[in-house]
Every structure is written in C-alpha cells, then in structure tokens.
C-alpha cells in the first residue's frame, strides 16, 4: 500500500466560522494503480490533494491519518514533510500556464528538483533534466530545456510539470485536474503519457478530476466526493456498471460521454437539481439529501460508508439502489 488515508478531515478557520472542507475521508492506493477522486468543484478533492502533499494553507487544520508507505505523515514536522515532497510524493497541477515559474527555463526548473533531492551538480542535473524532458516526449528536448515557459505550448508545459514531478521517481503522484486546461487531443496524449510512466515506474497515482470520461479510461478505483465526504468508493468498472449512490447516478446521468448502459435507467436524473451545500452550514445528516430524489426521513442522520459488494461502498441509506428503482 503506497498511500493509506483514514478518517482525514481538513477544517479551515474562516472569518465566518470553521469550514470543514474534507470530512471523514478514507481511501488507499497501491503501487502502479490509479485512484480517481471525482466530484464537482468545491467538493474537497483539491484540498485532499494539498493535505496529502502537506501544502495546506496556515489557516487549515488537519486530522486523521495519512500513511505513505506505512509511515504516518500527518504527525511529521514541516521540515520532514518538505524533505519528502518532490522525492517520495509529487504533484502535477491543473494550470500548466501558470504553474511554471516564468523567470526560469524549463530545464532549470526540472534540474532544481534533482539538485535538491539527489544532490546532483548543476551540469549533471541539467543533463538529467534534458533526458527527462525527452522521456516525456518533448521534441528537441535539449533546445526546449533552454527555453522559458512562455515559449512552450500548454501541452508542453504540462509535460515539463510531469517531468519535474517524476524526476525523483516518487512513490506517489498526485495529478490535480492535469488536463482540464488543455485541448482535447493534448488531454489524451498527456493522460496516455501518465499511464505509461506509471506502468514503467510503479508509481501510485491519485488522479483528481471532474471528468468521468477520464475516470472510465484511466482509473482503476474511484472515490466519488460530495461536499467534503466520500459518497461512493468502488473499482472503476463497478462504479460505471452499478452506481449505488444517488449522487453518482446523477453524475453519470449528467456526464455527456456515458451513453446507453446505465444511462437508460437514469433518464429522469439527467441533471442534478439544486446546488452544492454551504460548507459553513452543512445540512444535518446526509449532505446530498436536499438534492436527492430518493431522500426519506432516515436521511437526517449521516449514513456510514458501507460495503454493498466487495470493494464497493456507498454512503446511502437507500442502498442497494436498484431495489429502490425497481419499486
């Protein structure tokens, strides 16, 4: 087990009171596998990523357990966490246009990780950086390494980010919406590259996305998040074959790429009514209840994330849902 998260909670101190962005979240990822964290914006998926990286802002408080290769991270002091960042765990961000420093060349920025963690000299680090840029299929890598971010396309910049993240062969790679800002054709290339590098290095990947099409093609396991909590957790194939949480059902119905199959029985859920709850004042009990077409009186209590088949858990009092739908 590369990453094991148990009961993770992140609370922000705000002027209007505490905001619990992530609540009681648990999941784990094994080496060479991809876990997708899916949900709408504001559901806590990016906060989860930053929590694992130890990059939460100062007004955030973290509780629960984050284990990386069996070692508890949440109790590490900031310096110990920092030493692992970039080496044992790395991250690729959503915005390739702004995530690279405009004042340094692409090669310098990749080389910096190697100089820091592998103690390479300037020359050796730069040579390795060129090799890495070549590895992420940047054509003419030696020339590109000497260019600044503004001289590179969005797809190329994201390749530089990936080269940077994988430079020290981390055990865990967190990719936060890595292709959202890119053209569709470039998206596919970048995701294929991530898959290939994952197979090659055995890195565990946490893929954060709102795009169910990406999940279907690239994830082994899925956690669906809603309003800071896990709504459903399942192997990707099972999730698409048999979505159990009404929110997941809604997401699949709202996702344009999923046609036929599960969409048939969900035609009346083509879009999800209502809006995401205010996390400063979350609803009592199930957070999806106010928007749920199946809600009942018991939904005023928080449903536990319970297994309904091996490896497939859902936080819903109505599960298994097909009985409800059949009725």
């Amino acid at each position: 087990m590369v990453l094991d998260i148990r009961g993770l909670a992140v609370t922000f101190r705000t002027d209007r009171g505490p905001l619990r962005a992530v609540d009681d979240l648990s999941f784990s990822v094994e080496a060479g596998r991809t876990l997708a964290v899916v949900g709408e914006s504001g559901c806590g998926k990016s906060v989860t990523a930053l929590a694992i990286m130890g990059l939460l802002p100062p007004n955030a408080r973290l509780s629960g357990s984050i284990r990386l290769h069996g070692r508890e991270m949440s109790t590490l002091n900031p310096a110990e966490w920092r030493r692992r960042r970039g080496r044992e765990l790395a991250m690729v961000f959503q915005e390739p246009m702004t995530s690279l420093n405009p004042a340094f060349t692409a090669g310098e920025q990749v080389a910096e990780v190697l100089r820091l963690h592998e103690r390479l000299g300037e020359r050796a680090a730069f040579d390795r950086a060129v090799a890495l840029l070549d590895r992420v299929r940047i054509p003419d890598a030696a020339r590109r390494a000497r260019q600044y971010p503004h001289q590179l396309s969005g797809g190329m910049r994201q390749r530089v980010m990936i080269a940077m993240a994988l430079a020290c062969k981390p055990r865990l790679l967190i990719a936060d919406e890595p292709t959202t800002a890119l053209d569709v054709t470039v998206q596919a290339q970048i995701l294929a590259l991530l898959d290939e590098l994952k197979r090659e290095t055995g890195t565990a990947v946490v893929l954060i996305t709102h795009d169910l099409g990406i999940v279907a093609d690239h994830a082994d396991d899925v956690v669906v998040m809603y309003a800071g909590r896990a709504a459903e957790r399942a192997p990707a194939a099972r999730l698409f074959a048999r979505p159990e949480h009404p929110y997941t059902v809604g997401l699949l119905g709202a996702a344009p790429r999923i046609e036929g199959g599960p969409g048939g029985r969900m035609s009346r859920l083509a879009s999800i009514e209502g809006t995401v709850p205010d996390l400063l004042h979350p609803p009592e009990g199930c957070r999806f209840a106010p928007r749920c077409p199946f809600h009942g009186t018991d939904c005023t209590r928080q449903p536990p994330l319970a297994e309904i088949e091996p490896g497939h858990a859902t936080a819903c009092w109505r599960a298994p849902l097909d009985q409800v739908l059949a009725a």
Partner: protein, 315 residues
C-alpha cells in the same frame, strides 16, 4: 535585439532635441535681463550693455541663438558661465562625481533597507513586523528631507559630535572623511527611496507569493527561504527594477535642498546658484546634462528590464 537597441537609440535623438528647444525657450521666459545683471555698476551705460549683448549674442534673433547653442552643445561645449567665466562643461564635470557619489550611496542605502524590508513585510503580512515596516516606510516617504537632515545634524553632529555637519571631501582625497561627510545626506536621500522601494517590493512580493508557480516550488520540497528568495523574488523584482532606475536618475539630477543643508557642492547647488545669478549657460547646460542622464538611465532601465524578464527577451 540589436535592431531594438538601435531603434531605441534613435528615439533618444528627437527626445533630446525637443527637450533642448524647451530648455532654451524656458530661459527666454525667465524675467530679468542678463546683460543688466552682468553689467553690475555700469548698468546705466548703454554702450556697455550693447557690448555685453553683442558678446553674448543676445542681440541676435532667437532661432540663431538657439542654433548656435545647439551646434556647440552636441560637441559637448555648453559655453562659458557668465558669472565665473569658466566652461560650463568643466563645471558639470566637476560637480558630477560629487552628485554621483552621493546618489550611489543613497541608492545603496535605499536598496539595502527597502528590498529586504519589502520581502519580510510580504512574507509576514499583517503581523507586527509588517506594521512596523509599513510605518517606517511611511515615515521615510513623508518626512521632508530638509527636516530629517536638520534633525540628523542636530543629533549626530551637534549632540554626539560623530559626524561633520557639513562640507565635502572628495573620495580620492580621503575616503574615510569623504564617507563621513556624505553618509548623512545619503541617508536623508535614501530613506525616502527606501520607503518607496519597500512599498513596491511588498506589493510585488504579495502578488508573486500567491502565484501558482510558488505552490509548484513548495511542492518540489524547496525550503521556504528558496521559495521566497528565488522563485518569488525573482519575479517580484521585475517591476521594482524600473522603479529603482528612475529613482536613481532623480538622485543624479541633484538634490537641491539636501545639498544646500549639508553644503555639498553637487549638481543641485550648481543649478540653484546658476538660477539665482541668471547664469543662463550654466542652467541650460546642467538641465541638458540632467536630461541626457535621464534618457540614458531609461535606456538602461529597459535593458535591465529585459534582462530580468525573459518574456521580453525573445520578443
């Protein structure tokens, strides 16, 4: 790059030409007749006045006077001071090193205080250190130089007797004494600029620290000092460089009040004396030299700006 440089140089010529017309024209608008001033006791004698006017070409049409002046100015000849009968170019070259020394010292003081204070202030935003730095910056910007100068003289020269209250010793003559005579005026001049630099550095750093690339730097596992000092500061300094060059140019133009208070024989004193004595050639020469310094510095600012901002280099 070379094409850009040549084009930029080409822009300087019309700028200076227009400036020269304005400087020459302003001169004509100034009240008083220089011939009268120069004639002194003999101001009642029309023949003496006519002779002075002929000698100084004041009896010629204005365009001719202007062309004559410009033609010689491009050769570095700004004529003679009417008052002290010395070449203006020589006067300028005498005063320039004094003002230059003062400007460099003031600027160094401003940099050493202003940039680190701005960085610390941004990193410790809304903390006591930030309030303190902001308060000091406001003090530096808003205190009039003459007042700060007088207070420093009272404290360090009159009360403590550590530093000479006025005068100037050239650096080549006695370096220690030279620094002793210039440190107070340099601090007076530098304090205001330090405040301005601090405020701008703070704002630019706050902007840089909230950028995605700073988060990337942290995700690499870099020490916070490297994140701030390398990744954020490198970008934050881009606007500060331009500002710094302009402030340095203003220092070179001479600090009239500060030089008066500390009786430093620099540019500022030269131009004040010249204006009061209607010594037109000196005024014209000094203003023209100042303009040239400014134009050159703005060219240097552009080059520096390109050096620190790779986005402009390839364009």
């Amino acid at each position: 790059m070379l094409a850009w440089f040549l084009r930029r140089l080409g822009q300087i010529v019309p700028t200076l030409l227009i400036l020269s017309v304005m400087i020459f024209g302003l001169q004509q608008l100034m009240p008083g007749d220089p011939a009268l001033t120069l004639a002194g006791e003999e101001r009642g004698d029309p023949q003496v006045l006519a002779q002075i006017r002929a000698e100084l070409r004041l009896d010629r049409p204005l365009p001719e006077q202007y062309l004559h002046w410009v033609a010689r100015a491009v050769q570095g000849d700004f004529g003679f001071s009417w008052r002290i009968r010395e070449p203006v170019a020589k006067l300028i070259l005498e005063k320039l090193p004094v003002t230059f020394q003062l400007a460099v010292m003031a600027f160094l003081i401003a940099l050493v205080i202003g940039i680190p204070a701005g960085v610390i202030s941004a990193v410790r935003r809304d903390r006591p250190v930030d309030w303190l730095a902001n308060g000091l910056a406001l003090f530096g910007i808003s205190m009039p130089n003459f007042w700060l100068g007088i207070m420093m003289i009272l404290l360090f020269s009159v009360q403590l007797g550590w530093l000479p209250p006025s005068g100037y010793v050239p650096l080549t003559e006695d370096p220690v004494q030279s620094l002793a005579t210039t440190i107070m005026p340099a601090f007076v001049l530098g304090s205001g600029i330090a405040g301005v630099l601090m405020r701008h550095t703070r704002a630019a750093m706050l902007g840089a620290l909230s950028q995605d690339y700073v988060r990337t730097a942290r995700a690499k596992g870099l020490d916070e000092r490297v994140v701030v000092g390398r990744h954020a500061l490198r970008n934050a300094l881009i606007p500060v460089v331009t500002l710094g060059t302009i402030e340095f140019g203003r220092l070179l133009a001479g600090a009239v009040l500060t030089e008066q208070i500390f009786t430093i024989p620099g540019f500022g004193k030269l131009i004040v004396d010249a204006v009061f004595n209607r010594d037109y050639p000196v005024v014209q020469g000094v203003v023209m030299a100042t303009a040239l310094i400014f134009v050159t510095l703005s060219l240097i600012a552009d080059i520096l700006y390109m050096a620190v901002n790779p986005r402009l280099r390839s364009a």
